[in-house]
C-alpha cells in the first residue's frame, strides 16, 4: 500500500467499487435521527462503521442532503492525517516501486503508447502526410474502440482521483496564471520541494477562474500563495459530477470564417455595412474583408449636422462610395503580400477596384446568416463606371448571383401562420399555411381540403404567398419598414400601395409579412422612437398627434385639424402630457385630459368626445366616428363644454386636484356593502373612492363615495324635512319678526338663548 497522503476511505477502495447509491446511504446514516433504519445500517458496506465513529461531532440535520463531497470537510480523518509536514511532498513520498508500476501500466496502455511513441516513430514524411490529411480523415468513418471511448468519456472522478478546486484570478489573466502555476511547480520541483497540485485548467467558458486539481485544499492554498494574479480568498470545491463539464467546449460558439462568405460589421465607421471575406489568416482573431469605402470628401455632408436624434453628438458619416484614384493626391501603388496583388495605398488603407480591403477583428463582425440585400450585392458585382479598372471585380458575377439567390431562398423569414406557396416539384402552386418550422423543413397545412395531412417541405421549395388586398409590412429590401396593401401579385413580386406615403412600389414577396393592423404597428426597427398617438411638436411650433409612422416620415393630425405627412427631422420634440394639464372650456369650467366633453360649436356640434391631449388652446379629442384619423379630431377649447354632471360625482375643482378633499378627516357612516351601518373616518380620497378607517376594527377599507354618507347629512334626514333651506324664510316685506329669541339660523334643537 502506498503511504501516500490518502484518506482512510480511499484505503478501502483498492479493488473495491462502491455502489452508486453510496452517497444516499451514507448521508442518511450520518445525519438521520439515531435509532431509525436499522436495516440500512446493516446493509450498508462495512466502511460505514468507520464513518459512524465520527458521528458525534456531526451536526444533526436530517433534511440536509449533503453530498459525500461536502461531508469530507467535516471528517476528522483529514485533520488527523494532516499533521505531518512532509506529507505535502507527494513526489518524495511515493514509493519508487509504486511509481514504476504506474508508469509501466501507462506504457502498456494502448492509449499512452499510441500517443507517445507513435509520432516519434513515424518518419518525417509520413507525419507530414498525416498532418496534411487530417481534415479529410475527419470525414472518414472511423471505428471507435468502444472500450476506450467509454473509459475516457462520461465518467466522473472516482474517490481515488484528486478533486477540482475553483479559484478566482484576475480577469483576462487566466492563461498567464495557468502558465505561472506551471512555472512555479517546475521551479519548486527542481529545488526538491514540488507542489502537490496535479494540474491547473482554464476554460474559455468560465472567465477569471482557474480549476486546480489537488487532493487537499491546503495543497491548493500552498500553490497559489504568493501569486498576485490569483486571489487568495476563495477556494471552492467542485463536485465530482460537475468536473466533466469543466472540460467541455461549447461547439456552437465556434465562429467559422470562410473565404467568400458574407458578413456584417457591427461597430465603427462601417457599422451596419455588408462585407465579403477575402482572406482568412491563420490567427483566429479576424479576417480580411472587402467592403465599399466611406471616405470623407470635401463636398460631403457637414459632419456637424446631427441627423438622427438618438445619436446626438455623432457626426453623420460619409456615404458609401467607391474609391476613385483621381480624387486624391497621395495615392501610391503598393504590393500587398496578403493578397499577392498590386493595390492602391492611401491613408493607411488598401484599395483595389474601388473596394477597401481591410483586416477586421472578429469581435466587430457578425457572421451568422448574413445575407446582403440585392442592392448591395449588385453594387459589389458591378462596381460602377467611375473607377478606372475596366474589368469587373474578381468574382464571376453570374456565379455570385446564383449563390446569393440560393442563400436568400434558404433564409426566408417564416413564422407560424404565414401563407406560403410551393414553387417547385409536383405540388407546385399549392398554397397553404405554415404550421411549424424546423431548420430547413417547413410543415404546412394545404388550403385544399382534399389533402388531409400536413405536408413537410424543404424551405427551398416554397416561397411566401400573399393575395391581392392583403395588408403587408415590408421587412427587408429597398422599402424596408413600409406598410401597404398589395394591389397585384406577379411571379415572386408584388405591387404594394403604401398607406402613409401614398405611392406604389414593387417588392419581393419573400420580403413581406402580413401586418395584422392597418398602419398602427409600432415597429421596433424604426429608430426615431415616436409612437402612434404621441403628441409631438414640430419645428414650426405646430402640435400634432401621430397617426402613422414610417422610417423617415410621420403622418400627423395637426392642431388645425389637418392630416399631414411630415419628415421625422421636422419634429422638434415629443410632449409628455401631464395629468393635471387643464384648460377652460366654453362655460369657463376647467377640463383636463380624460374628461368627457360635448362639442357645442362648430361643424362637430353635439358630438360627445373624450379629451385625449391638450396643447395650448387646441384640444385633441376622441370620438370613434372619425375613422380616417382613428377617432382623433381637434377642437378649440372654446367650442367644447364639460359633460361633468352626466357622469356622476366629479371633483369640480379640476385645477386643484391635489388639494385636500374636504371629506378627509370627516366621520362618515357607511351605507352600502358589508360594513353597512358602521362609522368610519375618511383618511384619504382618490378620485371617486375614499379610504376609510373603521372605528370598530383597526382596518382601512376603500369604498366609493356613493357608499358613504357624511354624518351631518344623516342628522338632517332624520329631522322633519323641509324643502327650502332654512335661511330662506318666506317673509312678508317690511315685516320684522319681533318675537324674542327668534333667530333664523339656529337649528331647532337649541334652546333660544343657549349656545352663546
Amino acid at each position: 500500500m502506498a503511504t501516500r497522503n490518502r484518506t482512510k476511505k480511499e484505503d478501502l477502495e483498492d479493488g473495491f467499487s462502491l455502489p452508486d447509491d453510496y452517497d444516499e446511504v451514507d448521508n442518511d446514516e450520518l445525519f438521520g435521527d439515531g435509532g431509525s433504519d436499522f436495516e440500512e445500517e446493516k446493509s450498508a458496506p462495512k466502511s460505514n462503521k468507520r464513518l459512524k465513529k465520527t458521528k458525534k461531532s456531526r451536526i444533526k440535520n436530517k433534511r440536509r442532503k449533503v453530498k459525500e463531497a461536502n461531508v469530507n470537510q467535516f471528517f476528522d480523518e483529514f485533520a488527523d492525517e494532516d499533521d505531518d509536514e512532509e506529507e505535502d511532498d507527494v513526489g518524495g513520498e511515493i514509493n519508487e516501486e509504486e511509481r514504476q508500476k504506474i508508469y509501466e501500466r501507462y506504457d502498456q496502455n494502448k492509449f499512452g503508447q499510441r500517443s507517445k511513441n507513435m509520432y516519434a516513430e513515424m518518419s518525417e514524411d509520413d507525419l507530414e502526410d498525416y498532418a496534411k490529411n487530417l481534415e479529410s480523415k475527419y470525414n472518414r468513418d472511423v471505428e471507435l474502440d468502444p472500450e476506450e471511448d467509454d473509459e475516457a468519456r462520461n465518467i466522473y472522478p472516482t474517490r481515488a482521483d484528486p478533486t477540482l478546486w475553483l479559484v478566482k484570478c484576475k480577469q483576462g489573466c487566466e492563461r498567464e496564471a495557468c502558465v505561472c502555476l506551471m512555472n512555479k511547480y517546475l521551479h519548486l520541483k527542481k529545488q526538491g520541494k514540488p507542489l502537490s497540485i496535479i494540474s491547473a485548467t482554464i476554460s474559455d467558458k468560465v472567465q477569471s477562474h482557474l480549476y486546480i486539481e489537488a487532493y487537499k485544499e491546503v495543497h491548493v492554498r500552498e500553490a497559489i500563495r504568493g501569486l498576485n494574479l490569483i486571489f487568495q480568498r476563495d477556494c471552492i470545491r467542485i463536485k465530482n459530477e460537475e468536473t466533466a463539464s469543466v472540460f467541455e467546449i461549447d461547439k456552437a460558439s465556434k465562429i467559422t470564417l470562410k473565404k467568400g462568405q458574407w458578413v456584417k460589421l457591427n461597430s465603427g465607421l462601417h457599422s451596419g455595412d455588408y462585407a465579403k471575406v477575402v482572406g482568412v489568416d491563420d490567427s483566429k482573431d479576424g479576417c480580411y474583408l472587402k467592403l465599399i469605402p466611406r471616405i470623407k470628401t470635401e463636398t460631403g455632408p457637414d459632419p456637424r449636422i446631427v441627423k438622427n436624434r438618438k445619436k446626438i453628438g455623432m457626426p453623420e458619416r460619409a456615404p458609401l462610395k467607391f474609391f476613385n484614384k483621381e480624387e486624391f493626391s497621395d495615392v501610391v501603388e503598393k504590393y500587398n503580400g496578403m493578397f499577392n496583388k498590386q493595390m492602391l495605398y492611401w491613408n493607411r488603407n488598401y484599395y483595389r477596384k474601388g473596394f477597401l480591403y481591410k483586416y477586421f477583428n472578429i469581435k466587430n463582425i457578425e457572421t451568422d446568416n448574413v445575407i446582403p440585400p440585392r442592392a448591395i450585392l449588385e453594387k459589389f458585382l458591378r462596381p460602377g463606371e467611375n473607377h478606372d479598372e475596366v474589368d469587373h471585380s474578381d468574382e464571376d458575377p453570374e456565379e455570385e448571383m446564383e449563390k446569393w439567390k440560393k442563400l436568400a431562398s434558404e433564409n426566408i423569414l417564416l413564422t407560424k401562420g404565414d401563407k406560403i406557396k410551393v414553387i417547385s416539384g409536383e405540388l407546385q402552386n399549392l398554397t397553404g399555411k405554415v404550421i411549424a418550422i424546423e431548420k430547413k423543413v417547413v410543415t404546412m397545412k394545404p388550403d385544399i381540403e382534399d389533402i388531409p395531412d400536413n405536408l413537410d417541405l424543404d424551405i427551398s421549395m416554397i416561397s411566401k404567398h400573399f393575395e391581392e388586398g392583403d395588408h403587408v409590412y415590408v421587412v427587408e429590401g429597398e422599402y424596408e419598414g413600409e406598410k401597404g396593401m398589395i394591389t397585384k401579385v406577379k411571379g415572386g413580386r408584388c405591387i404594394i400601395f403604401s398607406d402613409v406615403k401614398q405611392r406604389e412600389f414593387i417588392a419581393f414577396l419573400n420580403n413581406c409579412k402580413l401586418s395584422s393592423q392597418v398602419a398602427q404597428l409600432t415597429s421596433s426597427n424604426i429608430e426615431h422612437g415616436y409612437n402612434v398617438f404621441d403628441l409631438i411638436v414640430t419645428t414650426k411650433r405646430m402640435a400634432g398627434i401621430v397617426l402613422a409612422i414610417e422610417k423617415e416620415s410621420l403622418k400627423i393630425l395637426t392642431q388645425n385639424g389637418n392630416v399631414q405627412n411630415i419628415d421625422v427631422n421636422d419634429v422638434s420634440n415629443k410632449v409628455i402630457q401631464k395629468n393635471n394639464v387643464s384648460t377652460l372650456d366654453h362655460d369657463g369650467n376647467f377640463v383636463s385630459v380624460g374628461d368627457p366633453v360635448r362639442v357645442v360649436e362648430g361643424p362637430n356640434k353635439n358630438l360627445k368626445a373624450i379629451i385625449r391631449n391638450i396643447h395650448q388652446n387646441s384640444i385633441f379629442l376622441y370620438n370613434k366616428e372619425f375613422l380616417e384619423t382613428f377617432g382623433y379630431f381637434v377642437e378649440n377649447n372654446k367650442n367644447i363644454a364639460m359633460r361633468g354632471e352626466e357622469s356622476g360625482k366629479r371633483n369640480m375643482t379640476a385645477p386643484n386636484n391635489k388639494r385636500r378633499d374636504p371629506l378627509i378627516g370627516k366621520i362618515v357612516t357607511i351605507c352600502k356593502g358589508e360594513y353597512k351601518g358602521f362609522e368610519a373616518r375618511v383618511v384619504d380620497t382618490i378620485e371617486r373612492t375614499v379610504k376609510l378607517e373603521l372605528f370598530f376594527k383597526s382596518k382601512i377599507i376603500q369604498l366609493r363615495k356613493s357608499d358613504i354618507i357624511e354624518k351631518d347629512k344623516i342628522q338632517e334626514d332624520k329631522r322633519p324635512v323641509k324643502m327650502e333651506p332654512r335661511h330662506v324664510v318666506p317673509k312678508t316685506p317690511a315685516y320684522q319678526p319681533n318675537s324674542p329669541g327668534y333667530s333664523y339660523n339656529n337649528s331647532g334643537k337649541e334652546s333660544p338663548n343657549g349656545g352663546l
Binding site: 516519434a120 472511423v142 474502440d145 484528486p162
Partner: protein
C-alpha cells in the same frame, strides 16, 4: 527514477500561443518555430509550425502530474508535463488517437 519526468517547454509568453494539432501542446509561436514539438518528434527543420500548429484552440490545462490527473485522463493527455489545450481547432481528438 525520473522516467519522462522532464517536462515539455512551457510557453514563454501569453500572446501568440499556438497548439500542436497532433498532441495539443501549447507553446508560443516562436518556440514552435525554434524547437518544434516536444511530443511529436518530428524533425525540427521540417516541423513547419504553421502546418502543424494552430492558434485556434480553447481551454488550457497545465499538466503537472499526468499520472494521477483526472483532467489528463479525461482529455486523453497521457503525455509529459506541460501546458496543453483542451480542444484544438477543427480536428477531433478521437481521430488523432485512432490512427
Amino acid at each position: 527514477m525520473e522516467i519522462s519526468q522532464e517536462s515539455a517547454t512551457l510557453p514563454d509568453s501569453v500572446k501568440k500561443l499556438r497548439a500542436c494539432k497532433i498532441c495539443r501542446l501549447v507553446k508560443s509561436a516562436s518556440q514552435f518555430q525554434g524547437q518544434g514539438c516536444d511530443n511529436c518528434k518530428i524533425g525540427k527543420q521540417t516541423f513547419e509550425f504553421k502546418k502543424f500548429t494552430t492558434p485556434k484552440f480553447s481551454g488550457m490545462i497545465s499538466l503537472m502530474d499526468p499520472t494521477f490527473s483526472f483532467a489528463a485522463r479525461y482529455n486523453k493527455l497521457n503525455l509529459i508535463p506541460g501546458v496543453y489545450a483542451i480542444e484544438v481547432e477543427g480536428v477531433q481528438e478521437e481521430e488523432i488517437y485512432q490512427e
